[in-house]
Amino acid sequence: MDLTVLLVKGLIILVIFGITLLIATYSTYAERKVAAFLQDRLGPNRAGPFGLLQPIADAGKMFFKEDFIPAQASKWLFILGPCLAMLTALMSSAVIPFGDSIRLAWDGTNYDIPMQAIEINIGVLYIFGVVSLGVYGIMVGGWASNNKFSLLGAIRAASQNISYEIALGLSLIAILMMTGSLSLRAIVNEQATFFEWNVFTQPLGFIIFLTCAFAECNRTPFDLPECETELVGGYHTEYSSMKLGFYLFAEYINMFVSSAFISSLYFGGYHYPFMNAVHDGLTGSLGEIAGHNIATAIGTVVFFAKIFFFIFFFMWVRWTIPRFRYDQLMNLGWKSLIPLSILNVVVTGAGLLYDIKYTTWLIVVVMVVLALTSNARAPKSQAAPQRA
């Protein structure tokens, strides 16, 4: 049985690895397609039907480019940079629960193998650790390039990631307090009923987390480390060929992982409304094992639908909001998000004292009221003088 568990686990790890790469590959295609559609264009549609072979063509192009290492660059660190970025990006999907469990019958007993590479009780902490390591890839690469623009980009990335990690962690603490566990599976299972999804109990925390996730992924509106208008290419200015490809790829993997992370933390992971009824119906009609496995598969599909929505959301925001200025970024991070998330923790804690889950709506209501009154009190902007 141990061997079977090992085999199934190995299979799950391989599948997750493959799916991560596949989704990252097609995220590049989706990014271009979504960008095009949002801008009233059609996007790539020449390579294969609907341009579906475009990522393969892109990868082929990347592989055949000259792999250039600048003469003054620190050679080993220059190579290490993209490797680190890729490694940390791929590692973080290990603890995400992609589904309930696969049920196997063995010697008359049923074994449930969770749909997850590894189930550890500090999953959230693990992801945080790996994600903070991710900034090393950018730092090392930017520094090793021996280029001032690269270094500036790397420094920006480092300070931005460190700043936003604080707010990210603090907004999560409220969830950890409610669940009482650092295990991602426990957090997902806590949200079994629809109105107990953390997005409903922690609306403010969700918005803070989402904002910080954008900053952690270096996506617009927080893509200052690689902003073309100021820094040429940012930390990957000097990179070419597949090393550049690795950096870009790591970004898309990070996007996938944070989408998965957001969906499992705030949107109930593989849960969906009336899940228990579906599960009971399937096990009733198809038998204990087949029914359970099919119910798991449905949950996984739902989970991936949530992930895809968030990947789309990442792209949607990218083509909507312009980039922040660096001081605005720092102001938003330190002066707004961190105090708000601390307030969120305090209010959640006070609510838990009296066993009320929805107390953070209080902050939201207060903020909406403040916003409305401030709008009402604001001096009416003068109507633009009509020029003849």
């Binding site: 979504v34 559609f37 949002l38 801008q39 009233d40 264009r41 059609l42 549609n45 918005i207 949607w316 925001v317 083509w319 909507t320 909001i321 903020m367 403040l370 916003a371 409305l372 009154t373 401030s374 709008n375 009190r377 604001a378 001096p379 902007s381 003068q382 109507a383 633009a384 003088p385 009509q386 020029r387």
Partner: protein, 187 residues
């Protein structure tokens, strides 16, 4: 001058609390972009779909034949003189006995070449021609060439084929002010 009603006066007044939260305007922006996501795209898929470029478009050159199928060109060289890019060259020859059904005039162009890399499709040759022999088709473009040998178009590619006669359909529109509009009968 006011072009649209959407322009807003820029002011540096302090932002209100609602504006400082960014979220309302972000939601507004997202709504606008998602609306565009579902809009009909104005793109025309070029090689598969070709749009009508109008009756005065200047495309592929054609050396016209008259209604009896004789070449109209008399190799006077006015087109070559008029050509600002010096793309046209020709060699004249005298019509022999028995060739009256091939060439309309007593002198004709034995060689007529247009260098398509030099041509700027200005249509001055069309204007200069006294015999209404050279035209720039409105319905066909010069195709992309892949070989250097394909650049210079000789008579084999320029002279109008009898099974593919060129008519400028809209008789109302004159391609150039000097050109008498062609009708089907005039070919």
């Amino acid at each position: 001058m006011q072009l649209t009603n959407r322009s807003k006066q820029v002011s540096n007044k302090e932002m209100t609390m609602a504006e400082k939260m960014y979220l309302p305007s972000i939601v507004q922006g997202l709504a606008i972009t998602i609306k565009h996501f579902f809009m009909k795209k104005p793109t025309i898929q070029y090689p598969e779909v070709k749009r009508y470029l109008g009756p005065v478009f200047r495309g592929h050159h054609v050396l016209k034949r008259d209604e009896q199928g004789r070449e109209r060109c008399t190799a006077c060289g006015l087109c070559a003189v008029a050509c600002p890019a010096e793309a046209i060259s020709m060699v004249a020859a005298e019509r022999k006995k028995g060739e009256e059904n091939l060439y309309r005039e007593e002198k004709y162009a034995a060689v007529y070449e247009i260098n398509m890399l030099r041509c700027i499709f200005c249509g001055l040759c069309e204007e200069a021609c006294p015999k209404q022999a050279v035209y720039l088709r409105h319905d066909r473009m010069v195709p992309v060439f892949l070989e250097r040998d394909d650049i210079v178009y000789g008579k084999d590619k320029l002279v109008e084929r009898l099974d593919d006669r060129y008519v400028r359909m809209n008789s109302e529109v004159k391609a150039t002010p000097t050109e008498p509009s062609l009708t089907k009968a005039a070919t």
